[in-house]
């Protein structure tokens, strides 16, 4: 803009006669601002060189150990016990011994312990968030604002149920099952521990929990919290290790109930192993959830939902909206807006408060994602990845999408568990529903439209455990979560979440 064309005397553009102000470096300031200088989390968290397993209220050293690394730097954080038969036996025996007393405790007394755990999680929230980010690679913004607060909320919520179980199962006496073997994934380490432990303990069960081998540290901090609140020994046991440790645990004869969250492949093996036994089983497995965007949706907000649906936690989310179905008439507009929004996502140091996408959880997971990116490029084409650099060390994958994906393509069928979105189109609501349901999974779905009647019709047709309307990836302890089809069975959260732990 110059004086000649519009007559405005703006301080920035008009050089004439304003010597002092001639060109204040507005564009320099804008560039310096837009760069977002590093804003690293400043608190340092103590991590011991080695951690034992938590059995019968004590940390127990084992002969075998394994390393847990920071996926953002590849540095070893600590050595952790690799639990074998001996430790699993000891943990199950401890849980078995603690069970009668814990189950006989009045509900309100059990509730007090859960309230204490919840409060301790809140008090130690910052430390837990930093540890979660260092061990798992997720951005501090998410561990601080989502993982840790929600974990505390789950304990608060189920603490409230502990003395009201009769109201959850009217007409019968609520009875705990016994010893619960709980195996959890690496995507939300502490939160998944809370999802498993809180309802089980509220109902009077005792637990042996196995965190994932890449992210054991916050579960071990939770063990410390159990000590701090004087939880009776044996009520919660935490055994670390890889797949073999998990197998030993779920196949142990002293276990009454198995709860597993993780991949569908492992879930099927567990189901087979448990089938010939008396053990109860709940599974929360994989997904290939669809986000359906109709032309009458609020598109800017739908784009926001798509981004939260798939790029939240680097896409390491079982209910990630990894397929987006867009009505053809707005496909171009949605994809353009999406790419623009993806360009604003900042990938890098998870401990930086401005990071939106942190590190991929492990080398193995990065390899898996890259395998799918290769397959997708061959089959689907239309690959687009947000621009920008990533650090040289660590495991990284910038947010990306495939356009023009067909239902037969591997990126539309298989769970990738990474920041990879498959974009497809549809013309009618019937076609949208058919495509959304065309998957062996059925964990979640999203529907975006301004029209209430359409939302209700579509939601009714979808075979998915959670259907979000004009939002995505919103979690609350009061709301049940779980799958249809190969996404598993049983519900976690809400009053429904008590049922798998009551006889």
């Amino acid at each position: 803009m110059t004086t000649a064309t519009n007559g405005s005397r703006t301080a920035v553009d008009d050089a004439q006669g304003h010597g002092r102000l001639a060109g204040p470096p507005v564009s320099e300031w804008a560039a310096a601002f837009a760069a977002y200088a590093p804003a690293p989390e400043s608190v340092k968290v103590e991590i011991a060189p080695a951690y034992g397993a938590f059995i019968n209220g004590r940390f127990v050293e084992t002969s075998a150990t394994f390393e847990t690394v920071n996926p953002a730097t590849e540095a070893v954080l600590s050595r952790v016990a690799a639990c074998g038969e001996e430790e699993i036996d000891a943990a199950v025996a401890a849980a078995r011994e603690a069970f009668p007393k814990w189950a006989a405790l009045p509900g309100r007394e059990r509730g007090k312990y859960l309230f204490r755990i919840a409060r301790r999680i809140q008090e130690r929230a910052r430390e837990l968030a930093i540890l979660e980010t260092m061990d798992g690679g997720k951005p501090i913004r998410e561990s601080r604002d989502v993982d840790i607060p929600l974990a505390a909320l789950h304990f608060f919520y189920y603490a409230g149920w502990a003395d009201k179980l009769k109201y959850a199962v009217p007409g019968r006496e609520p009875k705990p099952l016994g010893v619960c073997a709980q195996v959890i994934p690496w995507n939300f380490p502490l939160l998944m521990a809370a999802w498993k432990l809180a309802p089980a303990l509220a109902c009077g069960n005792t637990c042996v929990l196995k965190p994932a081998e890449t992210t054991p540290l916050t579960a071990l901090r939770l063990a410390e919290i159990c000590q701090e609140v004087d939880l009776p020994p044996g009520v919660v046991n935490i055994v670390t290790g890889a797949g073999e440790t998990g197998r030993l645990l779920v196949e142990h004869g002293g276990v009454d109930k198995v709860a597993f969250t993780g991949s569908t492949g492992v879930g099927k093996r567990i189901a087979k192993a448990v089938a010939p036994t008396k053990k109860r089983l709940t599974l929360e497995l994989g997904g290939k959830s669809a986000n359906i965007v109709f032309a009458d949706a609020s598109l800017d907000q739908a784009v926001e939902g798509i981004v939260q649906g798939i790029y939240f936690n680097q896409g390491h989310v079982c209910c990630a909206g990894s397929r987006v179905l867009v009505e053809e008439s707005v496909l171009g507009e949605v994809v353009e807006k999406l790419k623009h929004r993806m360009s604003t996502l900042r990938v890098g140091d998870p401990l930086d408060k401005n990071t939106d996408l942190g590190a991929i959880n492990s080398r193995a997971q990065l390899d898996r994602i890259e395998h799918y990116l290769g397959a997708g490029r061959e089959e689907a084409g239309g690959f687009w990845q947000s621009p920008g650099d990533v650090p040289t060390k660590g495991y990284w994958c910038k947010p990306c999408l495939f356009e023009g994906v067909q239902p037969s393509h591997v990126v539309a069928r298989e769970e990738i568990f990474g920041p990879v979105l498959a974009v497809m189109s549809f013309r009618t609501p019937e076609e949208a529903v058919a495509r959304a349901n065309e998957t062996p999974y059925g964990l979640a779905a999203g529907v975006w439209t301004d029209k209430g009647s359409k939302v209700r019709w579509v939601a009714k047709q979808l075979r998915a455990g959670v259907v979000w309307m004009n939002t995505y990836n919103r979690f609350d302890p009061t709301s049940p979560f779980g799958g249809y089809k190969e996404s598993g069975f049983g519900r976690e959260g809400g009053a429904h979440g008590l049922m798998p732990y009551l006889g």
Partner: protein, 330 residues
Amino acid sequence: MTSSIANTRTKADDVRTVREAPSVDAVMLEQRAVGFKTRSIKTASKIAGLKLALSMTDLTTLEGKDSPEKVRALCQRAIRPMPDDERVLGERLPSVAAVCVYPRMVGVARECVEGTGICVASVATGFPSGQSSIGVRLREVEEAVAAGADEIDMVISRGAFLAGRYGEVAEEIRETAAACGRAHLKVILETGELVTYDNVRRASDLAIANIRDGDFIKTSTGKVSPAATMPVTLCMLQAIADEFVRMGRSGSGRKIGMKPAGGIRTAKDALHYLVMVQETLGPLTPGEASPWMTPTLFRFGASSLVDDLVRQLRRMATGVYAAGYDLAGS
């Protein structure tokens, strides 16, 4: 500046513009707006952001008790927001973008800021209610321009808009734009009276369709509560983005400016707004600044914000917060 829009648009066009405005989902809009606040702006970025915000401020006084003396003091503050900047910071801080006054004060302000590069903005058109006849309102614009206003902040007829008389609202905007001549126009929607985000979006689209490249849309008069909020501003920025790109439709490429006004009091608020502009309107290449990060396309309408911006810049340089008497005379 061309005013060809005024000659070619019909009432049917205006009704269509409103009808075609996209719906706005309140829950996700507010969620996105909160997200900007979690950006942590530190060190060099913070200093740059504070200076940028200072250079984008329309320092405002709009009171019945405004006097020439008060306007002169305001202008001094506008020219030199931190009188001891060279001693404390080792550099001159930028002046603000404009002083914003009632039409009767335009002459005084013009005299004070002449030669400084600071613009004189004047509210007009029956500010703040807009409840005068269109003839009176246009006359007020002409007088302000004649007295030396570079920018005119008009109010729309919210009553007409809420009653669905979109053609009438649009006609008033076009006539005001014509009366502005070479002066820039800022169209105040008074979002606090439009209430819903859908209305804000419709009014934004209607205003944008009837103003010129480089003109502004503005949230509020500052006389109605709530004034500017982050979700409302985001909603308007999205309208501006859609006008610029018009994805999938014919893109006009016009850059409409944005001015949130009222309620932005702290440096922290201002930095959050800048984050929102940066991430909503570009950059098309990441790592670069949005083309809207300039006083020619983004303004803060505020009276007390300048004090806090200066206070924060002083603290960044000295490590201590200024006492009240350090700011005396400002």
